[in-house]
Amino acid sequence: MSFSTKWYYLRETFKSLKRNSLMSIASVSTVALSILVLGLFLTMVLNVNNLAQYLENQVQVTVYMEDSATAVQRRQTEQQLKIMPGVMEVKGVTKEQALANFKKRLREQQKLLDALGEENPFPYSFEIKVDKPERIQQIVPKIEQMPGVETAKFGQEVVEHIFQLTRILRIGGILLIVMLAIATLFIISNTIRLTVFARRREVSIMKYVGATNWFIRWPFLLEGMIMGFVGALVAAVSLFKIYDAVQEKIYATLAFFPLLPSWPFMGYLCAGLVAVGTIIGAAGSGISLRKFLDV
């Protein structure tokens, strides 16, 4: 393809986008909205997945000691825990370590730390790893009977619920994505159809003077791709901003919530979405060209 030809395609494409500016804007907005919903959805699914995995790795029991428990009581409890069936590992966590861990998780949420003041609200605790999740049900009641033990906590049920949730989300998500893709295809192909209609005289003259079919198709295809690309780009940038804002909000209230860090996660997701938008744009105009451009 010569330079003149590429230049010709670009000029024609932008002329056409401008001529149909209202429809072009409508198409770009639809693409942006669809892709944004798709992106929000994927962000949610991936994060819930991540959360479930995080919690599953925490198939451990945390045993919180009463503040009044003495060092001797603590040592006795540790011995008893170690000889319980199925217990693989017992690790003592001092009040100071607990506070330090908390601070590390909060990272730059300085305000929250300030609210703590000088006090250390964390009790002494043991973190117990067990050989299999079912074991937890048996040992937790026993542990809670031990002298000096405040409570024993574990997250297995939550984990199972969350996995169930991801399954539902995934099925619903696929349906939603298919519907959005169809809607987007439809609006792009409709816009291109109007473009072809607006330029039918030009197209017929091109045919009379011997333009090849691909020469005639390219500007229309490019137009669809540009609309898809721009729409998806708008969506990707919005998604990035929304995620950052939500992340900040969540960390401000639920400091422990394990969200996927926005980099590189959002980078990959956004690149993927932009690619999908461009492909949908090309496919949308492809449909119209087959149906309405009889070349």
Partner: protein
């Protein structure tokens, strides 16, 4: 340049537009197609560019069997042809220069060559100084000259014209005809469907008369032959 063998065209509606047409037109000829309305002249012209397809028979353009061309080969057939219509078919949002240049751009001619050649053909049709005008700013005769410039800008072997002077007054028609004569002198074969008696009688070129889809007369240095 153009050969038709037992060529017939029956439209989907059942109209027998052409029946068993046999013609042989040699390179460099200037041929008028005449005949009453509905005789099949436009059909004849459209078959050459494969705008429509034969029902039976064969048609050859410069030795190429037109009906055997694949869809993606048709553009290359059309590059050998220059096509002129009664209604000019210019793009109104482009200047005369751009309208002519368009025909070169869409077959991927480098821009430098486009500029040179468009200037050349606009001069040939006598519009050397009107390149920047839009069709809306030109008379019918001028618009048709732009259309002719567009048809010949890619140096076609064969120029086909369907009533190119149909919308023009006699004087303007004469100017247009002179341009066709000039193009013919430069080597292009010309086939023109027309109702323009004065012009046909004046030109004394080959005349093929069609009635009800059949050739009823084929004369070298012929006349229009119908009363108006």
């Amino acid at each position: 340049m153009l050969i038709m063998k037992h060529a017939s065209k029956i439209y989907a509606g059942g109209a027998k537009a052409l029946q068993d047409i046999n013609v042989h037109i040699k390179p460099g000829e200037f041929v008028f197609l005449v005949g009453p309305s509905g005789a099949g002249k436009s059909t004849f012209i459209k078959l050459i560019s494969r705008e429509i397809e034969l029902t039976s028979g064969q048609i050859f353009v410069d030795g190429v069997d037109v009906m055997k061309l694949r869809d993606d080969e048709i553009p290359y057939l059309r590059r050998q042809l220059g096509i002129v219509f009664q209604d000019y078919r210019l793009l109104n949002d482009r200047t005369a220069f751009e309208n002519v240049a368009f025909a070169m751009q869409v077959i991927e001619t480098p821009s430098k060559k486009v500029r040179e050649r468009v200037t050349e053909v606009l001069n040939l049709v006598g519009l050397g100084d009107r390149g920047d005008n839009y069709p809306g700013e030109m008379s019918g005769g001028e618009q048709q000259r732009v259309a002719i410039a567009r048809a010949i800008v890619n140096d076609p072997l064969l120029v086909i014209a369907d009533e190119p002077t149909g919308n023009l007054d006699p004087e303007t028609s004469m100017e247009i005809m002179n341009i066709f004569t000039e193009i013919n002198k430069r080597g292009a074969t010309i086939i023109m469907a027309t109702h323009d008696k004065t012009m046909v009688d004046y030109m004394r070129q080959r005349v093929i008369a069609i009635e009800d889809g059949r050739i009823v007369r084929d004369e070298i240095k012929g006349v229009y032959g119908y009363e108006l």
